[in-house]
Each structure stands twice: as C-alpha cells, then as structure tokens.
C-alpha cells in the first residue's frame, strides 16, 4: 500500500497531439493519499477511465510520471504494480469455477493453498456466493458475474490500490446498495486506497471521503462532499452535483454586489474586478420563495416527493428553487438569496472573495 502520485501527467490517444483538445487527459498533478477512499466523478467521456487505466498501467501516459510511494512505476507493467481493478462489465474466466476465479489472482502470486482457501471463503461470503463456489462461472447472470469480478478485485490483501470503474452498472439497485456498503466496510477493515469511478453522484457521495470531479480531461475539484456542494470550484461541479444543479446567472460584480439587469443582489463578501464571462451561482436549496424580495416569474412547480422544485425565470434567466415540504408558492411570489451562499464565477472558474464578513480570508479551495 502506498501513496499514488501523478506528476505532470497528460495523455492523448493520438500519436502527435497538436492542440489541447487532442488530449483525453489534460496536464495534471494529483496525489491520492494512502488509504483514502476516493470517488472519481464526471460525465461520460471526461477521461475517468483513462486516468484509472494509467494508474493501473493498462495505458502508458503520453507525458508525466506515476509514482507509487517513491517508486516511479510509469514504465512498470500492470502485473508489476500489484494493483486491482474492476471493470464496468463483468470479466470472468468462463471455464473456471467460481472458486477458481476468486483464487486466480492469489494463485498467480504463488500464495499458499491453505491461505487461498481461507481467503476465498471470506470473499465468497462477502459477495454472497458461498453456496455457488463449485459451479462453473459460465452461464451465471450478469450481476453474479460482476460480483465475481468484484471479489477478484478484493481478494488480494496486499494490493497498492483497488480501482473500480463504474462496477455497479449491471447490478440491480438493491444489490448495488448492499455491495457499496460492503465496499465501505472493506475499506474500513483493510484500509486499501480505493478509487471509485462513477457518473452517479449519489454513489460518489455515499462511497467516498473525498470526491474528485473531472470535466473534459481535467480534475476540476477535489474535496469532501460538503465542499463540492457549498463551494464548487467550477460551474461544472455546481451543475453536476446536486439535484437540480446550481443556478448560474450572468451578472456584473462590483465590490460586494452583483448586478443583474438593474437588480442588485448582495453577495455577502467583497470581490475584486472580474474578467471574462461573469456569473453568480447559487444552489436551488438556498433560494427562498416567499412574499417578499425580488420579483420573478414561476414557470412550473415539480413535485419530487420530499420537496417541490420551482422552475422559474428571473431577469430573463432560468432559475430553480427548492420549496421545503409544507410551504407553498404565494400569490405574488418573490425570491431571496441566502446570504453568503452565492459563489462568483469568471469563465466557469470560481473567484475567491477578497474579504468575507466577520474578517479573515475565505478558506475555500483554489481551483486547480
């Protein structure tokens, strides 16, 4: 087990990448702490799988280095890295029994037979397949096969890290929750570094201590689920995390106020001058709908069970607000923005306020 450092890393699938757009993975420096449980979150095609494959050595990066601890493994073969990876779709060795499938990585490492038997039983119990150990893996259902793949990923105790590439896609929802819980238990018990790729934010937020959000080949933010929610470093994070995503409104910033076509909104902090496209971002959760505040137009109200979502238009721009349970939209609705919950973005990146009320500098994360 060791810390994994990606230094100056970038990758392109083209032989001679010319522009930034040719890179599947833009240049990055990133450190995965030993024993951390990370979720790698992002839309399809943003480079998550490429990043994972570079860590496991299935793909050699076009530039930069991969370090396990202090050891440079950039040119090391996958098998020399001793790393486990579970893929999106199940991979089982058809002609082997379930038991042999689970034992395969251990046998390849030349472990002793008694240990293998013990460990395989343990893993089989964990994935709930102890009654089917002696049958052939061929002909099992997709989710049973995926459980075997997961089991094979977890069976080695001495791996440097376990990488999961959207492993629960083919699993049914009930089993999904159970397996995710077991993965968390496993992490608590053995303390492996785990990197879990997903595009499902619920999955990411429940699994991980730290969530890494990727967008168009870049890591745009790494933080706790709370940091991602409160201070998204990039408009993509604001939009991708939360349901519905963060409201983004074009505005002009002067000092501690945002101007939206004549209407002023207090920001709760002082900002320096901004360049490029300037937007303010506020979570629908922090938009209050009552009978006082700024005028706006309600388009429709959606009932999503626990609360209702107000879809509206404010100063000609679309906006969503969350209406808590029990409250309703007044006859002449007005809206208010919770103080200090507004973030400012210039060309999609978050702008740090120069001061916040109450003194001191904001401790929000800098964008990378």
């Amino acid at each position: 087990m060791s810390r994994i450092t990606l230094s100056n890393l970038a990758h392109s699938y083209l032989a001679n990448p010319a522009s930034d757009a040719d890179f599947a993975l833009k240049q990055m420096d990133h450190v995965w702490d030993d024993g951390g449980a990370y979720a790698l979150l992002g839309a399809s095609g943003c480079g998550k799988t490429t990043l994972l494959n570079i860590i496991s050595g299935l793909v050699r990066p076009s530039q930069g280095r991969v370090l396990f601890g202090d050891r440079d493994v950039t040119d090391a073969e996958t098998s020399a890295r001793n790393i486990a990876q579970v893929f999106q779709f199940p991979v089982v060795y058809d002609t082997m029994t379930v038991r042999d499938n689970l034992a395969f990585p251990l046998r390849n490492r030349g472990m002793d037979a008694a240990y293998i038997a013990r460990r395989v039983d343990q893993i089989a119990r964990m994935i709930g397949m102890e009654d089917r150990l002696n049958r052939k893996a061929r002909g099992l259902t997709a989710d049973a096969k995926q459980k075997i793949s997961l089991g094979r990923g977890m069976v080695r105790e001495d791996v440097n890290a376990i990488l999961f590439d959207e492993p629960l896609t083919v699993i049914d929802p009930h089993m999904k929750w159970e397996l995710r819980t077991q993965l968390k238990d496993l992490h608590r018990e053995f303390g492996h570094t785990m990197i879990y790729v997903t595009h499902d934010q619920t999955e990411a937020l429940t699994f991980a201590q730290k969530v890494v959000v990727m967008h168009e080949g870049r890591v745009v933010q790494m933080g706790t689920p709370e940091e991602l929610f409160e201070t998204p470093a990039h408009t993509f994070v604001g939009y991708f995390i939360g349901s519905p995503g963060m409201n983004l409104l074009d505005a002009e910033i002067t000092g501690s106020e945002a101007h939206l076509q004549g209407v002023s909104v207090p920001l709760g902090a002082v900002y320096g001058p901004t360049t490029g496209r300037t937007q303010i971002g506020i979570r629908p959760d922090y938009v209050t709908v009552s009978d006082e505040g700024l005028p706006f137009t309600v388009k429709r109200v959606e009932d999503v069970g626990r609360h209702r979502i107000v879809r509206a238009e404010f100063q000609g721009q679309p906006l969503s607000a969350i209406l808590p349970e029990g409250s309703s939209v007044p006859a002449d609705p007005r809206l208010g923005f919770a103080a200090g919950k507004i973030n400012v973005y210039a060309d999609d990146w978050r702008v740090q306020p120069t001061t916040v009320p109450g003194g001191g500098l904001n401790d929000g994360k800098d964008p990378e």
């Binding site: 494959n53 496991s56 050595g57 299935l58 073969e77 996958t78 098998s79 001793n82 790393i83 486990a84 990876q85 893929f87 779709f89 991979v91 060795y93 058809d94 002609t95 082997m96 395969f104 990585p105 390849n108 490492r109 049958r135 052939k136 061929r138 002909g139 793949s149 094979r152 990923g153």
Partner: protein
C-alpha cells in the same frame, strides 16, 4: 365445431422433394443398385445381395487404404490445428499488416485443388523442381516418386501448406471477438502468458476450433485430387488413400459392384465420425453451461 382436416399444404414441399430426388436421392440409389448387383454391361444386372459388401469388408486392400487414410487425417490434424492456432495468435490484430496477413493467408485457399497438386508435383521434382533440385543439390536423398516416406512427407507438407490457413483464419476470427477487457483483467490478475491462452483465448476459440477440426477432418478424409496429381497414389500404394483407391476400382478396373459397396461404407464412416464429433461438441457446450 368440427375442425377441418386439410393436409394439402404438404403438396407445397413437392418441388423441393423433386429437386432433392434428382440431385441426391436418385444418384445415391443408383449406387445402391450397383452395390447389390453384378453387371457385365448391356444394362444386364444379376442380383448378388450383400456379396460385394462382404468382399469389401474382408478386403485387405480396403483396410490398408483405410489405415493410411486415418494416419493421414491424424497427422494433418496434429500439425494444422496447433500450427493454425500459433499463427492466429501471432498475427497482427489491426492496421495494414493485419489486412496484409489476411490476404496472404487466404491465397492458398483460393487455388484450385488440381493446381495445388500440380504446383507441388513440379516443385518437388528432382530434375526441374525448386524444392527437389535444391534438396538434391544439398545432398539430401529426396525423391517422392521412389521413396514412400518422401511421398508421404510431400503430401502432408502440401496439405499443411494448402489448409493451415483455414484453421488460422477461423482461430483469428475467434480471437478477434474477445473483448479487450479480458486481456486487461488478466494483466490486473497478474496472469502468465500461458494462463491467458489457457483460460481466455482457448475457451473463446473453442467453438471455431471444433468447426475447424470437423472441416479439416472431413476434407482430409475425402482427399483425392492433390495426392492423385502429385503421386498418383504411389509409390506402390503408399499414398493410395480411400478416394484414390475407390476411383481406381470404379473407373480403372470397372469393378462397379465392389466400388459401389465400398463408397456406401465410406459414406457411412464419414457420417458416423462427423456425428461423433457433433455429439461431443454439443455435449461439451451443455456441460459448460451447468
């Protein structure tokens, strides 16, 4: 309500029946007819019952040819199947060279059988053939017209040259259908090259491999043209395989009765062995699904 009974739909299969009757059933029945009669021409037939069959079953000549035939099929399967797999494993997976290899491999398959025979007949000749002359010049005593072993080697090498491509191409198709994720998972699991072959490639190739074995067995068991052109079944009867023997008997000696009995048994043997292959294949599939 009484259900109307109307089986007139059966008449719809009549055209097919007529077609099959003329193309397969009638010629086959002619053979059956010859096999139970003796004839001296003039369309006169004398009933002999199963005499020809008895004669053929006890004929040393037939059993010798059968033995040679089994040996030949065995040898070429033992060479072509592993060699085909080996070639398929080492062919480029994509790009220009993959297409190039595919075309190159397909070439021998496109050459007519008697041309293949002629090519090797000339290639192996000691006086003018590139192979024969070169071997002679190197001091190796090679002559497929005199030496039974040389004749066998020539015929086997020729068949390997002609047909290994088929096995290789079938295996290649099987290999190409394996998703990349399997190889990646094997690397993650630190599998050896042998394990990758044994647990990923071989199981995925099994289906096409069994078809390749079946095809190669049937084809080699019926081989006629190429050895006939190269060695004419000689020296002596060293390379006289079943088909060659049959043709000698039927058109060389005009022993139509024995030849007919012989060909019927030949047909049944091929049918039997193919059925055994098929059953084994199906059973293996069923066992795997358990």
């Amino acid at each position: 309500m009484e259900k109307t009974q109307n089986n007139k739909a059966w008449f719809l299969v009549l055209p097919v029946l007529v077609l099959v009757a003329f193309s397969a059933v009638l010629p086959l029945m002619t053979v059956v007819n010859y096999s139970v009669n003796d004839t001296f021409g003039n369309n006169e037939f004398f009933w002999t019952g199963l005499e020809w069959f008895e004669e053929m079953v006890t004929s040393d000549r037939l059993w010798d040819a059968f033995g040679r035939q089994m040996l030949f099929s065995g040898i070429i399967l033992l060479i072509q199947i592993p060699l085909g797999i080996f070639i398929a494993l080492n062919m480029p997976k994509s790009g220009f060279w993959a297409s190039f290899c595919l075309v190159l491999m397909a070439l021998p398959l496109l050459i007519p059988f008697n041309v293949v025979g002629t090519i090797w007949q000339i290639f192996g000749r000691v006086d003018i053939g590139l192979l024969g002359h070169t071997l002679a010049a190197m001091g190796i005593d090679y002559n497929y017209t005199n030496d039974p072993l040389d004749a066998w080697i020539t015929v086997v090498v020729m068949d390997v040259w002609h047909w290994t491509s088929l096995v290789a191409l079938l295996c290649y198709a099987g290999l190409q259908s394996i998703p990349q994720a399997y190889y990646q998972a094997a690397r993650i699991d630190q599998a050896t090259r042998w394990s990758v072959f044994r647990y990923i490639e071989l199981p995925k190739m099994k289906g096409v491999l069994l078809i390749a074995i079946l095809l190669r067995f049937m084809d080699s068991f019926m081989i006629y043209t190429e050895p006939f052109v190269v060695t004419g079944g000689g020296p002596g009867s060293a390379t006289t395989f079943l088909s060659i023997d049959l043709a000698k008997m039927a058109t060389g000696q005009f022993d139509l009765g024995p030849a007919a009995a012989f060909s019927l048994m030949y047909f049944l043997v091929i049918l039997l062995i193919s059925w055994v292959f098929y059953t084994v294949m199906v059973n293996m599939d069923r066992e795997d699904a358990k």
